[in-house]
């Protein structure tokens, strides 16, 4: 037992956050303002996600944290430890065992279920921010469904690069209404936003919470003659041989050698445990 209240935040704060979450679920894709608290970590390290997780956790939950798909990076390890200490909940690295998964910049490869909640850490929740600096104006644009500007950004991509070069934080339209920033996940993950799990997005510094309820329609914006393409590196995973997972490029020496490995460490490890081996899988211990 620790001296903290369960999951660090006091009960009033958690109620306030839950109210924002409920409103977000009721209006999919709408950014609900909330009174974000100071957390014992710097902004940009997942303060929004941590607050949403704290408001959702119960003592029976099993908690998993990933950072760019990996369970073993600094951000993931420290947030997992934080809730181990302040909430005393069970933690796991297995996607299928977790009931709440907090994530930074990825959606797990394994399909999620109705019993799971996926919590995203969001740096900048406003998809129109870099096109329209005024918050007053962007809110009005959302209210009036005035989204022509979003396509101007995609137009600029094509005119400059010959294709829609936006590779992450690719804008989506939720349930035919709100245009939403899916946080900086790769566009490869966009099709997975239509999920059986509840997806919650928390932006601590920007003080916004938004949500995509289970089975909500999520459409990636595109042009008729330049359709959305959830691209990935054209390689199989070097460790587990998976052809259909999102890959990280890892530089292995200073002579230009590189390998592509699954960014989702749990997905890769469970495939290797099941006997799948990639080209370099035999040399690297699991």
């Amino acid at each position: 037992m620790s001296d903290y209240n369960f999951a660090y935040l006091d009960e009033q704060t958690k109620r306030m956050i839950r109210r924002a979450i409920l409103k977000g679920v009721a209006v999919p894709g709408y950014q609900v303002p909330f009174a974000s608290r100071e957390m014992p970590m710097p902004y940009g390290w997942g303060t929004g996600g941590v607050q949403v997780s704290a408001a959702c956790l119960t003592p029976d939950d099993t908690f998993k944290v990933i950072d760019q798909g990996a369970d073993d990076t600094t951000n993931a390890v420290s947030i997992r430890k934080f809730f181990e200490k302040t909430a005393g909940v069970a933690v796991t690295e297995r996607t299928c065992e977790a009931t709440i998964i907090q994530t930074r910049h990825r959606i797990p490869e394994d399909p999620l279920t109705e019993d799971q909640i996926l919590v995203y850490q969001v740096p900048i929740p406003e998809p129109l921010r870099f096109l329209e600096p005024s918050e007053v104006e962007t809110r009005r644009m959302h209210a009036l469904e005035d989204y022509g500007l979003m396509h101007v950004k995609l137009y600029e991509d094509i005119s400059r690069h010959g294709e829609i070069a936006t590779a992450y934080a690719y804008p989506v339209k939720v349930e035919g209404r709100y245009v939403m920033d899916p946080s900086p996940i790769p566009k490869f993950d966009n099709p997975k936003l239509e999920s059986a799990a509840l997806q919650l997005f928390g932006a601590g510094r920007e003080q916004r919470i938004y949500a995509v309820p289970p089975y909500t329609k999520v459409v990636s914006l595109d042009f008729e003659d330049y359709p959305f393409d959830p691209s990935k590196a054209p390689h199989p995973c070097a460790l587990c041989g998976a052809e259909d997972s999102y890959l990280d490029e890892v530089i292995t020496d200073d002579k230009g050698s590189r390998m592509f490995v699954c960014s989702d460490t749990d997905f890769c490890a469970s495939r290797r445990a099941a006997g799948h081996v990639g080209v370099a899988g035999a040399e690297v211990p699991a």
Partner: protein, 256 residues
């Protein structure tokens, strides 16, 4: 023929001061109305009230909409007014920086209105943008340059292309030639006059430059201290001014 725009008793106050008071006029399709007056006479306030940028305190602005006939613009909901603002209406600002997106290419600037009304085919948008850049005499190869790389006159022409691409029926212009040197002004006026005549546009042009209205406007409205003091055909008002202030205004122009 019903008027395209019919304004009755339009009044805007800034606290105790008057912005414009009891302004009324009819504008018919294909007609260009000039509004002249000195700085502070309320002409920009009037234009902003008409275009929906400012909420007037009293009055009616009745526009002959394509779908539903004459409707009071001030009673419309905000989404309806915005839709009007990017389909049937256009607004050319004095400073092109106010009317353009400076960080977006010329093509994107022209395409924005098309995309705002639902165009989702890149090839078509690009083609229309090129067509319109041609009409305002901007070379095709500048389509991917940002407006910040353009000269002042080109920026103003780009702003006009961006506004006219959706085929509006009514154009509001606030000092369209302000801040440009005279030779560029002359070419721009020539261009605007050609476009207005060819497309059969109606336009309301606010300016303090009498030469601009002489060239562009069919009819003229002279404003002073928020009130309309004289109206009439352009040549009639300029050649035979009746009100004392108009006489002063006309005689203040330097003859070179």
């Amino acid at each position: 023929m019903p008027p395209l725009l019919s304004v009755h008793g339009l009044t805007k106050r800034y606290g105790a001061r008057i912005g414009c008071a009891d302004v009324g006029f009819d504008l018919y399709p294909g007609e260009v109305l000039g509004i002249v007056g000195e700085s502070g006479s309320g002409k920009s306030t009037l234009l902003n009230c008409l275009a929906g940028h400012l909420a007037p305190d009293e009055g009616q602005v009745i526009f002959d909409t394509r779908a539903e006939g004459p409707r009071d613009v001030l009673q419309m909901s905000e989404p309806e007014r915005r839709m009007l603002g990017r389909t049937d209406w256009a607004f050319v600002h004095q400073n092109p920086r106010d009317g353009l997106r400076m960080r977006i290419s010329a093509g994107g600037n022209v395409g924005e209105r098309l995309m705002a009304v639902g165009a989702r085919h890149y090839g078509d948008i690009r083609e229309q943008a090129l067509d319109w850049l041609g009409r305002v005499e901007i070379a095709d190869e500048r389509i991917d340059d940002r407006p910040s790389a353009f000269s002042g006159g080109m920026q103003q022409r780009l702003q006009i292309a961006r506004n006219l691409v959706t085929g509006p029926r009514l154009v509001f212009m606030d000092e369209p030639t302000g801040g440009l040197d005279v030779s560029v002004q002359a070419r721009l006026l020539d261009l605007i006059r050609g476009l207005v005549r060819r497309m059969g546009l109606s336009a309301i042009v606010v300016t303090h430059d009498l030469a601009v209205v002489r060239l562009l406007a069919d009819r003229l409205m002279v404003m002073k201290d928020g009130h309309v003091i004289e109206t009439g055909l352009t040549d009639q008002v300029l050649d035979d001014p009746q009100a004392a202030y108009t006489q002063l205004l006309v005689s203040s122009v330097l003859q070179v």
